[in-house]
Each structure stands twice: as C-alpha cells, then as structure tokens.
Subunit: 326 residues, 2 copies
C-alpha cells in the first residue's frame, strides 16, 4: 500500500506529512520555516529537501510513496500545476511551475490544490464531512476561505477557484473587501472583522471587559480575547459574536438555497469560539431558510484541526494518481 | 429509439410534448387547461389522458415511449415521486403520489423534477448551456427560479431543491421575501420588483413615459411596459433596468465565487429585456469578481424559450431510465 505526502505551503512554515490515505492517519510529519523572502526557487528546493527528509525519517523508500499533494494559499492553475497568485508570499509566485519542479527534484508525481480546498477534502474524506455527499466549509481566520463538495466530488470550479464561500455577498452596499468586491461575508465575520467590532466598542468608551483584557491597547484585541470577555458574561462581547454568527447564518442561508449541503463545517481559529458563534449562526439559518428542507442541514465544527490540510492534500494526490491510472 | 414525454404542470395549463431526446426536438405537443380547482385527483386523470392522447396523435404506440418526465412548480420528494408543496395550485398538493399515479394510469414509468430544474436541464442538454460542465440559470418572472449544473450533473440538492438562486441573499437587511427570508435576489429583481420600481416612480410624480404608457393606471405597469419606455430613451425606465441588472450582477458575483459556472443563463419573460438587463448585470459582475477568472464566465440568454421545460423533463426521464437500467 502506497503512502502519500501532504504538504501545507504556508507563508511562515512548510509542513509535510506522510499520510496513510486508507485511514487518514498522519504517520510522520516535519516542518521547516518557509523563508519565503528568499524567493520561489529557494522555497521549492527547501520543499523538495523536506519531502525527501520525511520519507527517510519515516523509514520509507521513495518507492513507497505514490505522490505528493501541495496545498497552496492562493490562485492556481491546477491543470498546469502552476501557482498564479499567492498573495501572502513575497513576489506572489506568478506562473511558477511548482508541480513540475517538485517532480523534477524528487522524482515523485506532484499535484496542487488550494489550501482551503485541501482542508475541505480532508474533512470530507476523514473528518466532519465524512459520509455525506454535499458539504460546505467556511474556514474563518484572517479571511474566510471556503470549499464545496458537491454530489461526492470536491468542487474545483474554474482552475480550482470554486468554493470561495467567504466572498459571497451578503450586502450589495457593504464595505470594500480585500478581494475588490463589496459586502462579502469576509468583511463582516472574519477574524479582523470581529476584532474591529471590539476595537470600536473600546474606542467608543462602552462598558466592556474587552478594554480591561486588552489593557486599553487596541492592537491587542483579537477574536480570542473577545471570546474570553464573552465567556465571562460581557454583554458587548456576546453581542459581537451574536452579530458575526448572524452574518454567517445569512451566508449559510444563501448556500442552502443555492446548493443545499447536508453539512456545513466551520473551520479555522475563529470557529474555536464554539457556541458563541455556532448558536446565532444556526438560529439565523433555521429562521431564514424555507425554500429547502433546512432541518436536514447540520452545522458542525471541523474535526481534523491543523492536520486537515495535509491529509486532504495527500488524499487529493492519491485521487489524482487513481484518475491518471484509470 | 424510444421517445420520451415531457410535461409542464402549470397553474393554468398542462402541456405535454413528445421529445426526441437524441436531438432535443419537439415531435408533437398538446396542451389543456389544468383546472386545478377541481383537485389533484382530477388533474392527474387529465394529465394521464393528455399523455395517451399525444402518443396517439403523434401516430405512436405506448411501446414507443420510454417514460414520462413531469416538471412541477414547487417542492417535491424526487425519490418517492411525490409533490410536497405546489404554492400556485389550490390545496398545494401535500404528499400527492404524482409519479405512481401517472404510472398506474398510463403504464409508463414517470419521474418528477422541479419546473425550473427542468428548464435548466433542457437548456444544458440542448440550449444555451450546451457543451460546458457547470451552468447557473436564473429564470426571472413572477419570482426568480434557478438551477445549477455542476461538473456535468444537474445538481439536485436535498430532494431536488438545489439551485434556488433567486433566494440567495444580496442584502441581509433587505425586504421580506415571499419565501420567508429577507433580502433575497427575488425581492430586488423579479418581475414584480421591477414593476414596483415603475409604480413608485409614477406614484411619486416623476417625469417618465411609464405614466403615459400605463395611462396612469399603476395596475398596468409591467416589466415589458417599463422596457418599452426604456427603449424610447426614458431615463427613469433605463435606471430601473440598470438597478435590476446591478442586483442580478451582485448575485452572479456570489455564484461565481461559490461555484464558478462557465455560463450563466438568463431565462424567463423578464430576460426578454435583453441588453437593458444584461449589460448592467455583466458590468457589475465583471467589476466585482476577482477571486476567480471571471473573464471565463459568460452571461447568455436562454435558447429554448417555452420548450426548455418539456425538453428538460423528457431528457430527465430518459436519464432516469438509463440509470435504472444501468
């Protein structure tokens, strides 16, 4: 049984894991700094070295590895195996032949996938999406990434860009989003959007524990800090999560109408707020959706945590190998 | 080569057509009043009689027919072949075993499909969606119906409710929609929403040809009348279509981000406004979408007109027969 390597190409760290794609378990993993400022050539060599090193430290041979899947944070050309635009990496990697270069340096077939689509595929194969045919993922962090599995297939869309659920518009008249559109869900419910609601409350001088907890330094306000204030019963902090959950519920109502997933998965750091975020989201979605049987839609937390991306990328490499063989 | 019957179960008329599912051509068709107030039993008998009659007038035998597909305006249970809620028919047809009853009365295997999903499938098989794997349909009339083809499959969603693109939310704070949600696209760009913008302008006493054309009777204002005023250069009327197109463009930007269709098809009576509606829609979508290659998305008018539904329902019956045989 061949193993597969899943890789997470992050702005800060490169992580590679050897995955048993039959069970979704991480057999061995290793991580090194990306050092992205050294440029894409250097980063690709570092990636190849990392892959060869994890194979060796796992006590395996190259022949034991069926292929490599790389989850990359940005826009890709999946067919050519090129990066087109990685906004968080210096130089943004336009038309970098990442898959071909890694194949050349390691001798192992390599495929690319957007990082949040890797998480989506991982959660669907072995996590919170297991066993249902249609799944929507919202990954809430600095932005809101997303992914869709439709009728038992990871939905790639054009060049792998499908599933950008954070860029569904919930208010046509809303604030400018980082993507260039206006009123995207991301402008209302991402980590920075939640933090900004806390900053505003403190700056306005409202009575809230958020001020105390950040020692009146607005730079220190994070979604976690606001969640902490909310957990201690702070009304303003609870209201902030109530609002963020409401906005997510509105976007969920759109995705229920358009696609009708059996399960909606919340991933990313902000989802750790738990009931604070899930309750208003679920309440909003259930109150608003009547064009489809919303009682058959569950909202659940991601299960694989930080491993979802490497597991998903490895499973994607296996599926690609099977498709090529078939 | 078997023929298939496609049926459109409308609130006013029942229409049945014998379709050559190899070419999508309508070989023969016939229509009778639905007389829905007589109740579902009577309507189903009338449907069965209509089917037997079209077979006969086409000079065919029952053995020449592979099956019947019925496009029904509402929520269905596709697996059981039951209607669940047909809002425009008296009694709303809860749990009416439509497929089984037609099979019993005609001896022909019968499947159901939502009416706008039938249009979607018809346009995809033989109309404006031909040749691409992912398609979104907005059918703009009294409401805004929708449909999705994803990766070469009509997307059914839960019980056939997938693809309700008119009920994507474009303003979380928007007006109440007929569906119970708030701020759905349908509340902004359906026929009645467009007509209401004209009514408001006339009621406000704005200088517009709409008043003259409707002889100052607000009841007579329709999207067609406003389009007529716009065609003669009336600024208020042009603005109304500019706005409706803008709202459609915002919804299109959400569906581009979430799904990434290669083609977006506008169907329904309101789409006959043509450039008046298409231009602002396309402009809005192209200006707003940056998370996917929007230059690869086309917006096109439906091609099959009033025949899309019966063609799609018949093709769906054939596909169901093939799936059952396979």
């Amino acid at each position: 049984m061949k193993r597969y390597i899943g890789c997470d190409l992050g702005g800060t760290n490169l992580r590679a894991a050897i995955i048993d794609v039959e069970t979704g378990s991480v057999l061995h993993q290793s991580s090194v700094p990306t050092l992205a400022r050294e440029g894409h050539e250097a980063v690709m060599r570092r990636m190849a070295d990392l892959f060869l090193q994890v194979i060796q430290s796992a006590g395996l041979q190259k022949e034991d590895i069926g292929g490599i899947g790389i989850g990359a944070p940005g826009v890709l050309d999946l067919e050519r195996g090129e990066t087109l635009f990685l906004p968080n990496l210096p130089g943004t990697w336009p038309h970098v032949p990442l898959a071909a270069t890694i194949l050349q340096l390691t001798g192992l077939p390599t495929v690319l996938l957007n990082d949040v689509r890797s998480i989506t595929f991982g959660e669907w194969c072995f996590g919170a999406g297991r066993g249902v045919d249609t799944v929507a993922v919202f990954a809430i962090g600095t932005g809101i990434g997303g992914g869709l599995v439709v009728n038992g297939q990871l939905h790639l869309g054009i060049g792998g860009t499908g599933g950008e659920l954070g860029h569904m518009v919930i208010n046509y008249n809303g604030p400018r989003c980082g993507c260039g559109n206006f009123g995207c869900l991301e402008t209302y419910a991402s980590g920075p959007a939640i933090a900004a609601m806390g900053m505003k409350a403190v700056a306005q001088g409202l009575t809230t524990k958020i001020g105390e907890l950040c020692e009146y330094d607005l730079n220190r306000i994070t979604p976690e800090l606001i969640a902490k204030a909310a957990a201690s019963g702070d009304e303003i902090a609870c209201d902030i999560y109530e609002k963020a959950g409401f906005y997510l519920g509105v976007a969920a109502s759109s995705i229920c109408a358009a696609v009708g997933p059996r399960r909606i998965i919340l991933a990313g750091g902000v989802a750790h707020a738990g009931k604070l975020l899930f309750d208003p989201m679920e309440r909003t979605m259930r109150a608003r959706v009547h064009v489809m049987p919303v009682e058959q839609v569950e909202i659940v937390p991601a299960l694989l945590g930080g491993n979802a991306g490497v597991i998903g990328a490895a499973c994607w490499a296996e599926q690609s190998a099977l498709n090529n063989a078939g």
